[in-house]
Structure formats: structure tokens, C-alpha cells
């Protein structure tokens, strides 16, 4: 069926939760109230590295209004994390703290003010230890050891080699080796973490701001040796995640223990400073990149030699380390690839997954290097990309199977939309235009822990009188609109109407299993489960209608809540009537479906990371102006052209692109988490961690090229993360075009740009004086 023929998908229907969000009715975790509820907070370490000598909670316990105070003595000592290969965290530090912000104790009290006061009364005696804040320094023998089980502070080490990179580079016409530095940024979602724990007998319920209820259920059950069926995790409305709300946290575990001890619901929460401390954001990466090309600029081989600053714990960082290298092979066609990576422990807040999961910084490096190669060889950067662009139905050197790929169309459309050919090389002084391309996964091919569970499942229940239907999905709407899009897909598959759908999502007790929102998986994976559930409903509808109309169900179709004869659409029955009849004659009208991706990937260590049933592709172009006297950057326009397969809701897809560009631009120019010499964050607030305001960013243009992938329901692929992946590289290339200066590190602060321009001015004026 051509996309134009779809009844529901492909339409920009209004969000199913739009109304409750504009009226303030939508309840986020921090808005929930339970009878007899207590408030809880966690005490954090003021030192980057210190032995815990003693903890005295007696004064805190005496404060009126304090109901419980806990330390490592009151909680299981089991280590946890995200990846079973790297469980390296305790709920509370036992022998030592490893970063400023590490978690040491927790309090439950009757109100917020009492909790804050109680935290100040907990007396911890520390023996301060030498700390290390730089990954290169941490690798030096004799450096302070962050985690005892990881000698040399090596958290993850990867050495992949495909084809023969040395040979390729030796044959190359031109080789460039550059070192780029990607910086430490953080999600800075507006809603701080909140977790509310309550017990009913042996059953624990967590209302928690999470992207992945299933995994939280899994980790919590594991920690407390409970059957998963006794742990219920509910995601309320969520105020942004971007990868920062994907882990079971101290808030969840401590809350559960405090709630058990006090017999009362406990609401645990972070304030904004604590959000910065908890972090789990983007890794700082030192990226040495060597690329060799032939005379036409065709890439022959790439060697990526990276070091990542992982902070004090792994979080999701082992996957991040693999992703950093795995997806570099997606966008351009080359056979020889070497990837060396060391993820290093330091005494800084832990880093994990952040929109694009490890790939934006490497993308910045490769895209910047390609523009430098283009400059060296006098080839237009867009042309260079066209020559190297991935084609469909290809296998990357690291065994990633690409099916649909419209990258060439993305580049060409981006050229046209931005006026590339008219502008490149012809803009007034200080103004520049830059391009970058990338690809991204539509869901990770393998789950985070080893399991053969399907990745998604869905249930649809049609109301008794057939006038409404409810979709039950474990998929998590974190703002991207999955509730809306999945309802569209349910309605499409059923032949029903979106307007009569309602949704229950992300509640492990009420909704069927789904791994949740990460790796841009839900439209494709949850969507497939939903489509199957809808098709099951439609099948039953057509059967019952066939009986009612005394025709073969094969002669019937159902669309827009009407069942009709294919050969004469004026003859039919309303869906509602058929549904009701079905309920009367045969029982409940329900449909269900589940989805597992096919077996993907190669056989080498870490091959699973980077696999996906389908890959999106994108090209971005940014036009900006640099004030040459100050280094100030003014963004003029930005375009994103995406191959995201079939688009279910164009307005929501555009919204993801807007947000991806915004985040990429913010990280490229303004955002950076900075530390003092003692490992304390200098800017743990939303003033000095500079998010762009309405006055800092222009309107964005979002375009979609025609595409469809066989792996996705109706051909869908992702867009939410892919739209932030090329952006840092795009800004980098626009600045290069505007100024002619090479800047090797992020972010492009005004001062950094100014320094590069100053250096250029000094060189130029000294060259002049030599003439």
C-alpha cells in the first residue's frame, strides 16, 4: 500500500497527551502524592576520592520529623550497574567514595526542608585520597586507582580490525591524521529525577521517572532477590530523558529500603545540582583519527584510536565505548577499518548514554576530518560525501547489515534546500556553510542483559461496544510521542480510528513487556508488536463481519472504523457493530503481538553493539556567522534531511529533528561540564551550563526523503537520535568555512574561536611582513 493510501499513519494527528500537557493536568513523578508520604534524599560525597572512615547518623535521626536514616549497612551489598559485564556500583559507598557526588547515605523525613537539614547532620569522616581527573593521566602507572578490580583504571578496552588499514593507508593518495577532543556534556533534561517507592505486603511499586520500566524492574528485583512479579515499575509523564533516565538508581533502591523501613511511601528526588552530579551523560573523548583517501577522495581506510573518560563507574559506558567505533562505518563505504578504544576510570561523575550514544563526538571527528581532506584536495565537501555515501543493501566492514539507505538523496536534497552550490565559497566574510552526514540505529539488535525475551510486545483491547480501543504497550513515551505514534499504528493496523484510541503505557503490571525508550527503538520495535496486535484484531473483525454479512472474510477490508466489501465499498458494517457482535458471540476482542529482531551481527567480541534491524541516515547543513572580533557565533539557519523510512507522524518527526539540532548545536557551541582542581563541578546549574535560549537559535528546516525499510512496520526507521548525531560535525564544518581556522576541540566557545582567529591573524600578518 502506498503511503498516501494509509488512513492513519502519515498524518500529523495531534498528540494524544497534548491537552493534559497544556493544561497542567499531566502528572510527572514529582507531582504525585500518596497518603502518608515521606520525602527522601541522598547524602553525597564532597570529595572526589576518599576512604570512608565512619558514618554517624545519630544526630540526623534525632531531628524532629526524620523517620529513617540509612547507609550501606541497611542495604544489600550487591553490586549493580547497567551492563552485567560491568556491575561496579553499590547503592551506598562502603569503603570509599569515588567522585564528588558519590552516594553515601539517605534520609526519609516529613518534608523537604527537614530532609535537607537532616542531610547536613549526618557526619561522615573521610580520609581524602589522591584523585585523578584526566583519562590520560589515569592510565599512567601509579595513578590513583578508582576501582580496585580494574587495574590501570582500564574499564573497557577494544581492539577491532577489519580488512587491512595499514595497507590501505599506505596506498592512499592523501592521508590525514588529526586529533579531536569531544567534551563532557550532560542531558540537562528539565525534569529532575524523582522516584516514589511504596510497599503493599511483599510487593514493591516504584513510580519513577524512567525511560525503561522493564529494566528497572529487572535490576530492582535482582538487587532485593525478589521475583520480578513482585516489583511494579510505573513511568508517570516524563519530563525528558535523552538517555539520562535509563538506569536503576540510588533513588530507586534507597527509596525502596526507606519505604520498607518506615512503612510509608517515600518520594526520593534530586535537585538540579544533584542532576549534574548523577550525570551519566556524554563522555569526553580524545579521538585520534587517521583517514586515507584515493585521488578522488574515496575513503580507503580509517583508523580510529580513541580514549574515553568514563568517570567513576561504568553506567552504560561499556556499550558507549563500542558504539563510538561501531557506527563510524555506517555512512561511508570503506572496507578497511581499525578501532582502538580505551574507556578509562577517573574520579569524576560517571558517564553513560546520551542522545546518539557515543557517536556524536566521533561523528564530529570524522566529518571535520573529511572537510579538511576536501580542503586539502580542493574537492567540494558535499561532492566528497556523495562519492563516499553508503548505498543500500550493503554490509559494513564490522558486519552491520544496511538495508534501505537514501543517504545520497539526503545529501542532494540538503544541497538544494540550503542553496549549497550558490553559497559555498561565495558567502560574505565571516559567514560560513557546513555539511555533515551520518547514520544511526533504529533500535539495538540485542538487549542489555542476556535474555531471549521478545524486545517488544503489545496488547489491544476493544471496548465492549466497539466504540473505543485501548492499546497496552510497555513502550515509554518520554516526550518523543511514542504513545501517539503507537496509537496511530494500532488504529492503522486494526482499520480503526486514532481519535477513538486510548493508551496505557510503561507500567510493568498493566502493560506487556517492552524494553523501553533507548537506542531509538520504539517506532520500529514496539511498532511492529503493535502492528501485529492490530492485525490480529482486524482478522477477527473481518471474520465476524464475514459471518454477519455472509461473505468470505477475504472479500472484506476494514478502514477508518468501517468494514466494507472490497468490490463495493458502499456495502459494509461499522467496526463498532462488528466488534460488539464479536464480543457477544465469541468473547473478548483482544489482539496481541510481539517482536524480536532477527539474529544480527558478526562473530567478533562486541559485534552485537551497533547491530540494528534498520539504519536511518541524515545530512545536515548549517549556515552561521562568526564575529571575527569576538568569536561570537550567530546561527542563521539549519537544515536536516533525513532518511527515516516511512514517517508515521510528520509533525512529531519534525519535532524530533528540531530537538536533535537544538541539542547538537547547544553541545557544539555552548555546553560543557567543567570541574575545578578538586573534581567539583564548576557549573552545576542551568545558567553556567549554557543551554541555548529562544534568542540563540534560529528556525530549523526538517525535510524527509522518500524511503522505506523492509524491517520496519510500514517501512519505518528512527529519527530521534539520528537528528543529533551529525550536528557537532556540521557546526565544525560551518565554522571552518566561515573562518578558515582549524579548531580541534569542542565546544566552540566564542573565546576558543577568537583565539584561533587571533592565531591566524598573527600568522597572516607575520607572513605579510615577510613579503
Amino acid at each position: 500500500m502506498k503511503q498516501e493510501e494509509h488512513a492513519v499513519i502519515g498524518r500529523s494527528v495531534p498528540k494524544i497527551d497534548g491537552r493534559v500537557k497544556v493544561t497542567g493536568e499531566a502528572l510527572y513523578a514529582g507531582d504525585l502524592r500518596f497518603p502518608n508520604m515521606l520525602f527522601g534524599k541522598i547524602l553525597t560525597s564532597p570529595y572526589a576520592h576518599a576512604r570512608i572512615l565512619s558514618i554517624d547518623t545519630s544526630e540526623a535521626k534525632k531531628l524532629p520529623g526524620v523517620k529513617a536514616v540509612i547507609t550501606h549497612k541497611n542495604v544489600p551489598r550487591k553490586k549493580y550497574g547497567i551492563s552485567p559485564a560491568r556491575y561496579d556500583e553499590n547503592i551506598f559507598c562502603i569503603d570509599k567514595v569515588r567522585f564528588v557526588g558519590d552516594e553515601v547515605a539517605a534520609v526519609a523525613a516529613i518534608d523537604e526542608e527537614t530532609v535537607y537539614k537532616a542531610l547536613e547532620l549526618i557526619k561522615v569522616e573521610y580520609e581524602v585520597l589522591p584523585a585523578v581527573f584526566d583519562p590520560v593521566e589515569a592510565l599512567v602507572p601509579g595513578a590513583p586507582l578508582v576501582q580496585e578490580e580494574y587495574p590501570g583504571n582500564i574499564n573497557t578496552e577494544i581492539h577491532h580490525s577489519f580488512g587491512n588499514v595499514e595497507k590501505a593507508l599506505s596506498r592512499a593518495f592523501h592521508v590525514r591524521k588529526d586529533t579531536f577532543i569531544g567534551h563532557r556534556t550532560t542531558h540537562a533534561m528539565l525534569e529532575p529525577h524523582v522516584s516514589i517507592a511504596l510497599w503493599a505486603g511483599d510487593r514493591l511499586t516504584l513510580h519513577t521517572s524512567t525511560q525503561k520500566p522493564h529494566y528497572i524492574q529487572y535490576y530492582v528485583a535482582r538487587m532485593f532477590d525478589m521475583p520480578m512479579g513482585n516489583v511494579r515499575v510505573v513511568k508517570p509523564f516524563l519530563g525528558g530523558g535523552f538517555g539520562g533516565k535509563e538506569a536503576a538508581m540510588g533513588l530507586d533502591f534507597a527509596g525502596a529500603v526507606l519505604a520498607r523501613m518506615t512503612g510509608r511511601p517515600v518520594k526520593m528526588f534530586y535537585d538540579r545540582q544533584e542532576m549534574f552530579l548523577y550525570n551519566r551523560g556524554r563522555h569526553r573523548q580524545i579521538m585520534e583519527l587517521t583517514t586515507g583517501v584515493d585521488r578522488d577522495g574515496k575513503i580507503l581506510g580509517v583508523h580510529a584510536n580513541f580514549i574515553m573518560d568514563g568517570g567513576a563507574y561504568t553506567a552504560n559506558g561499556i556499550a558507549t565505548a563500542y558504539y563510538s567505533g561501531a557506527l563510524l562505518t555506517l555512512a561511508y563505504d570503506f572496507r578497511n577499518y581499525k578501532f582502538d578504544m580505551i574507556r578509562v576510570y577517573t574520579n569524576l561523575p560517571a558517564c553513560g548514554a546520551q542522545r546518539g550514544h557515543g557517536t556524536p563526538h566521533p561523528r564530529y571527528a570524522l566529518e571535520s576530518q573529511l572537510d579538511r581532506i576536501a580542503r586539502d584536495m580542493n574537492i567540494d565537501p558535499a561532492e566528497l560525501r556523495l562519492r563516499n555515501a553508503r548505498k543500500p543493501n550493503a554490509m559494513t566492514p564490522n558486519d552491520l547489515q544496511v538495508n534501505s539507505c537514501e543517504l545520497k538523496a539526503c545529501i542532494e536534497t540538503a544541497q538544494k534546500a540550503s542553496g549549497w552550490k550558490e553559497k559555498k565559497g561565495r558567502l560574505p566574510r565571516g559567514r560560513g556553510i557546513g555539511m555533515a552526514a551520518s547514520g544511526y540505529i533504529s533500535g539495538a539488535g540485542y538487549p542489555i542483559y542476556r535474555t531471549n525475551l521478545p524486545h517488544s510486545s503489545a496488547l489491544i483491547k476493544v471496548n465492549d461496544d466497539g466504540s473505543a480501543a485501548t492499546l497496552y504497550t510497555g513502550a515509554a513515551d518520554i516526550g518523543q510521542g511514542s504513545d501517539t505514534v503507537l496509537c496511530q499504528m494500532a488504529a492503522e493496523a486494526m482499520g480503526f480510528r486514532y481519535e477513538n484510541m486510548s493508551v496505557v503505557s510503561a507500567d510493568t503490571e498493566r502493560t506487556p513487556h517492552d524494553f523501553g525508550a533507548y537506542s531509538s527503538r520504539q517506532t520500529l520495535m514496539s511498532g511492529t508488536a503493535v502492528k501485529r496486535a492490530g492485525e490480529m484484531i482486524k482478522k477477527q473483525i473481518l471474520e465476524t463481519a464475514g459471518q454477519m454479512m455472509e461473505v468470505d472474510p477475504a472479500e472484506l477490508e476494514c478502514r477508518d472504523a468501517m468494514v466494507f466489501l472490497k468490490r463495493d465499498p458502499t456495502v459494509g458494517q461499522p467496526f463498532a457493530k462488528v466488534a460488539r457482535e464479536h464480543f457477544v458471540r465469541k468473547g473478548l476482542l483482544v489482539g496481541h503481538g510481539s517482536y524480536s529482531p532477527p539474529k544480527l551481527g558478526g562473530r567478533f567480541k562486541g559485534a552485537a553493539v551497533g547491530t540494528s534491524p534498520a539504519y536511518s541516515f541524515a545530512t545536515q547543513v548549517i549556515e552561521l556567522e562568526v564575529d571575527e572580533e569576538t568569536g561570537e557565533i550567530t546561527l542563521k539557519r539549519a537544515w536536516d534531511v533525513h532518511d527515516s523510512g516511512t514517517v508515521i507522524n510528520p509533525a512529531l518527526a519534525e519535532g524530533q529533528v528540531h530537538g536533535g539540532l537544538y541539542m547538537g548545536i547547544g553541545e557544539a557551541i555552548w555546553e560543557e561540564v567543567r570541574f575545578d582542581e578538586k573534581g567539583r563541578i564548576l557549573n552545576p546549574n542551568l545558567a553556567e551550563y549554557r543551554l541555548p535560549t529562544t534568542l540563540d537559535v534560529p528556525m530549523f528546516d526538517s525535510l524527509i526523503v522518500k524511503s522505506s525499510d523492509p524491517a520496519g512496520p510500514w517501512g519505518v526507521k528512527e529519527i530521534g537520535e539520528g537528528s543529533s548525531v551529525p550536528t557537532e560535525g556540521c557546526v565544525s564544518n560551518a565554522i571552518l568555512d566561515a573562518t578558515g581556522v582549524l579548531i580541534d576541540s569542542l565546544p566552540f566557545t566564542y573565546e576558543k574561536v577568537w583565539r584561533a582567529l587571533e592565531k591566524k591573524r598573527i600568522v597572516e600578518s607575520s607572513m605579510k611582513s615577510c613579503e
Binding site: 569576538t630 534568542l695 577568537w754
Partner: protein
């Protein structure tokens, strides 16, 4: 003393100050309002908010540069609460109102248990977060005297276009006939413990007919006179260089050589 609370409350929340009691100035009616008093000038009550300064037709008429300065501060919500008196008493080195008010020769009235006194704003600040105000005094009003300025301007250089502290702030007030400058006042903010007059720069400008070369010289002089620090927003070297750049830009603006967004007018 609680006026708008936009500086005090964040400081309390971040444990930078812990007052045991707050005294609200809300009910003192004489702290509100803005009038022109012949012989005294434009008199602004200490509790006039920054948005009040933006909207004041009196200020827009007589000293547009002050309204424009207020408009460059923080954001709309903060400007609805933050007051001119609070901004001055906070004595933050990067505050925006002090430089332009000093350029316009403003003075402040301090009232307390002793006799009321008037202090030229130029002499009010003594260091970061320090001023001559005594513990038992309230800043009640600010007066901008009648003066023969032909143009004044303040340019704030921040790291984003809203909600940013000044990395460098330059205020100028000139008496000029065409390009010929008879008198100049140049005040630098955010680049010393207090706002400072760039007297050497002023001297180089006085009595001169402005050319690009003169502006360049004046800018360099101003840059050499400031005492910036390196902090999270910028290095000392960068700030110093930016003083040069923005002194030139502020002068161009006050000489009516630029449009309001700082870009050069053609012709």
C-alpha cells in the same frame, strides 16, 4: 533587605548567605516611582523593577541607553522582580546598570538611622559585593542629573543572548558635535573588582575628531586600564581584548554610527 529577591534568594538556596531574618521593602511607597525633578534630574525609586526601567517613557525619552541596558539584563521574568536598587546594592562586578548610570553621572541616596546622604555612584562601589552602604542603611533613590550628553550607550557582551552575565560591559556617554568629541565618559563593567572609569581612554578621546585610528587607540587604552580576572566565563586575556572591541563599539553607537543591534550603519 528584600527587594526583588532575584539575587538574594538564589544566594540563600545555594548556601552563600543565611540571614536569620528578612526585612521586606515592599511597603515603602517612596521607593517606587520615577519622576523628573527640576534641579535634581530623573529620580528613580530604588524598587523600580528592571522592566519598569524598560517601559518608562521618561527614561526612554531622556536616557534611552538606561532602558536598553535594563532590557539586556537576565530575562523577562527576572526583570519583573529585580530592582534597580537591588542591582546596585548587590555590587556584583558584572552588573549591567552600574556602568551606564556612572557614565550618566548618577548618584544614590542612602537613608538609615543617621542622616540621609547622597553618594555619587562612581564612589559607591568598593569591591566585589561591597559598597559604602552601611548595615543600617537602605538605598532609596537614584538620580540622573541633567547633563549635556549628546549620546550614551551600553553594550553588554555575554556568552548567550539572554540570561547571561556580562563577560565585558562598556558604557559611554559623550558630548560630541558630529565626530568631534568634547567630553567623554567611559565606564567598564565586569573587568575589575568594581565598575571603573577608563580615564586614559577618555583622555585620548577628549577634544579629538573621531576616526577609526582614534577609536583603535582609545580601545587599546581602555583595554590596558581594566583589571579582569580569569573565570569560568572567560580568561583575563580575552576579557581585556574584548574591552578594546566593545569600547569601540559603544563609542560608535553613542556617536550614532551604528544601529541598535550594534551593526554598522551604511553611509
Amino acid at each position: 533587605m528584600l527587594a526583588g529577591g532575584t539575587d538574594l534568594l538564589p544566594n540563600m538556596k545555594n548556601d552563600l548567605t543565611a540571614p536569620t531574618a528578612l526585612v521586606s521593602l515592599k511597603k515603602i511607597q517612596t521607593l517606587q516611582g520615577m519622576t523628573y525633578v527640576p534641579g535634581k534630574g530623573v529620580v528613580i525609586g530604588a524598587r523600580v523593577t528592571q522592566n519598569g526601567l524598560v517601559r518608562s517613557s521618561l527614561l526612554n525619552q531622556k536616557y534611552l541607553s538606561v532602558s536598553e541596558t535594563a532590557h539586556a539584563m537576565a530575562n523577562y521574568q527576572i526583570r519583573n522582580r529585580g530592582t534597580i536598587g537591588g542591582n546596585l546594592v548587590s555590587a556584583i562586578p558584572s552588573a549591567d546598570l552600574p556602568p551606564i548610570l556612572i557614565a550618566l553621572r548618577a548618584s544614590v541616596t542612602l537613608e538609615g538611622s543617621h542622616q540621609a546622604r547622597t553618594v555619587p555612584l562612581e564612589k559607591f562601589f568598593t569591591g566585589p559585593r561591597c559598597s559604602v552602604i552601611a548595615r543600617d542603611e537602605i538605598l532609596t533613590e537614584i538620580a540622573i542629573p541633567d547633563q549635556a550628553t549628546t549620546g550614551s550607550a551600553y553594550i553588554k557582551f555575554g556568552l548567550r543572548r539572554s540570561g547571561a552575565l556580562a563577560v565585558v560591559g562598556v558604557a559611554v556617554s559623550l558630548i560630541a558635535e558630529g565626530m568631534h568629541v568634547e567630553e567623554a565618559r567611559i565606564v567598564l563593567g565586569a573587568v575589575a573588582p568594581t565598575p571603573i572609569r577608563a580615564r586614559e581612554a577618555e583622555r585620548l578621546l577628549t577634544g579629538k575628531t573621531v576616526t577609526e585610528a582614534i577609536l583603535e587607540e582609545v580601545g587599546r587604552a581602555a583595554a590596558s586600564e581594566c583589571k579582569p580576572i580569569s573565570d569560568i566565563r572567560g580568561s583575563e586575556e580575552y576579557r581585556r581584548e574584548m574591552v578594546g572591541v566593545f569600547t569601540k563599539r559603544a563609542l560608535r553607537k553613542a556617536l550614532n554610527l551604528t544601529t541598535s543591534d550594534g551593526s554598522r550603519k551604511t553611509g
